[in-house]
């Protein structure tokens, strides 16, 4: 190529790049921003672990609170959290996975109803958690519960804050998490497996039940674990739907109120008459909740990265 055919702009390009000071400074700043994020996480985690680890003993995990919650353990809060998330998962996973199967296997991608479902899932994920709490109060307790009591001629059994209503509220809150992860998991199942099953004469549902679901199980587990982690940490939705300040007994029935780790932290941090005396217990409770959610998240992340690796290995 002769120089006469080169565009004028190219001919005028300098031979060597001048040193880009501004660029260096700005790209350095992006690194500083990233470092800042890491530092903040380290400071928060470090502070909580440093002040919390001494409190977390076997006795702390298994004893009832004593002396106005300034001594003793947090067993009822741990029990309540577990009961809450178990009920939530039982209510949530069948619906979430069913919805994902419908979206991925049955629905026409461009149909108006498919778009309506996707739109709802996306926007449900963005509804503030306190609004879920209001919804739980207005719908489950005041509407469903009260009317159930009236229909059964009971005094007040269902129409009050309860473990079950809190679990259902959290289930709705986490529905998008499960739908999105389960759908992603279904996408990782190779087309050929589906076609092989259908070619052998299996029906659509038989293919889904015996071929797709077992293959997608790690992904579905990921969604369930993520929802448990989020459910264990959310406090705003259970403030008026079932969490109790203090209970001298463990919840026996789904209609009982319950203590919960996150709510316990809130109560200890803001309503305690003697903040200094409760501090060790407070830090211990925070550490327990933090470890619980982080362990769950870690499991979910590992499962998901294995699933993504499989997907990447297939397409390349």
């Amino acid at each position: 190529m002769t120089s006469s055919t080169l565009p004028a702009a190219l001919r005028r390009l300098p031979k060597a790049k001048p040193f880009d000071w501004g660029g260096r400074i700005f790209s350095g700043l992006t690194g500083v921003a990233a470092l800042l994020v890491v530092l903040m996480v380290v400071v928060i985690m470090g502070n909580i672990i440093f002040f919390g680890w001494r409190t977390v003993t076997w006795e702390f995990l298994t004893a009832m609170p004593r002396e106005g919650m300034t001594a003793g353990g947090i067993f009822p809060a741990i029990f309540g959290t577990c009961a809450l998330v178990i009920l939530m998962v039982v209510a949530l996973v069948p619906f979430g996975v069913g919805a994902a199967i419908y979206l991925h296997e049955y629905a026409r991608p461009d149909a108006w109803y498919t778009r309506a479902v996707r739109f709802s899932v996306n926007n449900l994920a963005g509804v503030p958690s306190i609004v879920f709490g209001l919804f739980g109060l207005g719908f489950f307790i005041q509407f469903v519960g009260r009317n159930l009591d009236r229909a059964l001629g009971l005094d007040v059994v269902w129409g009050q804050p309860a473990l079950m209503w809190a679990a259902l509220t959290l289930a709705l809150l986490n529905l998008p998490v499960v739908i999105v992860t389960a759908e992603e998991a279904l996408r990782t199942v190779p087309r050929e497996m589906r076609e092989a099953s259908l070619a052998l004469g299996a029906t659509h549902w038989q293919t889904i039940w015996s071929v797709l679901l077992p293959q997608a199980l790690p992904g579905i587990m990921t969604g369930a674990i993520l929802s448990v982690s989020r459910g264990a940490g959310e406090v705003a939705p259970i403030l008026f739907t079932g969490a109790a300040y203090f209970l001298p007994y463990l919840p026996q029935l789904p209609t009982d109120q319950f203590m919960e780790l996150g709510y316990h932290i809130f109560v200890l941090a803001t309503q305690s008459p003697d903040v200094e005396a409760t501090k060790p217990i407070l830090y211990g409770t925070v550490l327990v909740l933090l470890l619980l959610t982080l362990l769950l998240n870690l499991t979910a992340i590992l499962l998901r990265s294995r699933m993504r690796a499989r997907l990447a290995g297939r397409t390349s």
Binding site: V32, V38, N47, I130, V131, A236, Y263
Partner: protein, 320 residues
């Protein structure tokens, strides 16, 4: 089966047809069940809308309620004193409080989140990136009540020592804690968008003699702009609705002022703090649901906008 004589059994084809019919009905039933599951998401969103507004409705329709709490009162009363002898339901302090906290949070979370995302997608060596991503996931996994606790017990004292603010708990403190809560959203969505920009864009720019910073700033960032905007909007929606952090870290005094070092009360924190004590069906109860309605509508529209930006990015990169 052994007692039935062979001759009286229906022929093979008929049995096969019967089984096929049974299977077809089962398939149809299952399809309906699955459809029901999918529409539970639509039903959930509609029910939330319906029941939050149903409980807030007396403010618009009920004369008795309107004597205490009405739309006009919300904006003409300058004070929020719901438990006084004469209850006052002025939304101004709450709106101003929410605005202050959200502005502080966005002021920190957007520059830091977007810059860190640019760093992770454009400049970071793979090893550093592999380290940064899990740290962000950890931050995203910290429950908001823990961030609120940290801001209340630890950070408030540090900030007061540095700034000399008169009250320990104030809009600035809550805003910083809130920034930590929305940083993962801003970072993750922006970083995904930046990484979705095709390699060829960057290579073309570098081949023309641009530096890596010029490429990042003039080529990659504009190409991913819609995605970054979506990240910022999603962060904004979370900041407006986030409850536990502001409830614990903001001090909860309903003061109307421009000073970010004053204690504030936000919309979400008012609902959380007051709902436990109100009488069901009272004007105060309806007012709190009305606040919930404001939060729902605001975040809903922000999220819809964010969704539009995501669609635009997808179309743009698909067309490229």
């Amino acid at each position: 089966m052994t007692t039935v004589p062979a001759a009286s059994r229906p022929p093979l084809e008929a049995r096969a047809a019967k089984q096929r019919r049974r299977l077809r009905w089962r398939e149809r039933g299952i399809t309906w069940l699955l459809r029901l599951c999918a529409f539970s998401a639509v039903a959930g969103l509609l029910l939330i809308m319906l029941f939050v507004f149903r409980e807030a409705l007396p403010i618009l329709t009920d004369r008795e309620t309107q004597k205490e709490a009405s739309l006009r009162g919300f904006f003409s009363t300058p004070l929020w004193q719901p438990v006084g002898a004469v209850p006052k339901y002025g939304l101004t302090p709450l709106l101003v409080g929410t605005l202050k906290v959200v502005l502080v949070a966005m002021g920190f979370a957007v520059p830091i989140g977007v810059m860190a995302a640019i760093f992770a997608s454009e400049f970071a060596p793979p090893k550093v990136r592999e380290l940064l991503k899990p740290v962000i996931e950890i931050l995203a996994g910290i429950p908001s009540v823990v961030l609120g606790f940290f801001a209340l017990i630890v950070m408030a004292s540090w900030i007061q020592a540095v700034t000399g603010a008169p009250s320990r708990l104030n809009a600035f403190n809550a805003g910083i804690a809130l920034a930590l809560g929305i940083l993962p959203t801003v970072f993750t969505v922006s970083e995904d968008a930046l990484r979705a920009v095709p390699r060829s864009f960057r290579e073309a720019s570098l081949a023309l003699g641009a530096t890596r910073w010029q490429t990042a700033w003039n080529v990659t960032l504009p190409a991913a702009g819609a995605g970054v905007a979506a990240g910022v909007l999603l962060g904004l929606a979370r900041a407006v609705g986030e409850t536990m952090i502001v409830l614990m870290a903001s001090g909860n005094a309903a003061i109307t002022s421009a000073n970010i070092f004053d204690s504030v009360r936000t919309l979400s924190a008012s609902i959380a703090a007051e709902m436990a004590e109100v009488v069901v069906g009272s004007p105060h109860y309806s007012t709190l649901f009305f606040l919930g309605g404001i939060l729902f509508v605001t975040t809903f529209f922000i999220n819809v906008f964010a969704g539009l930006f995501v669609d635009r990015l997808r179309r743009r990169l698909a067309g490229a």
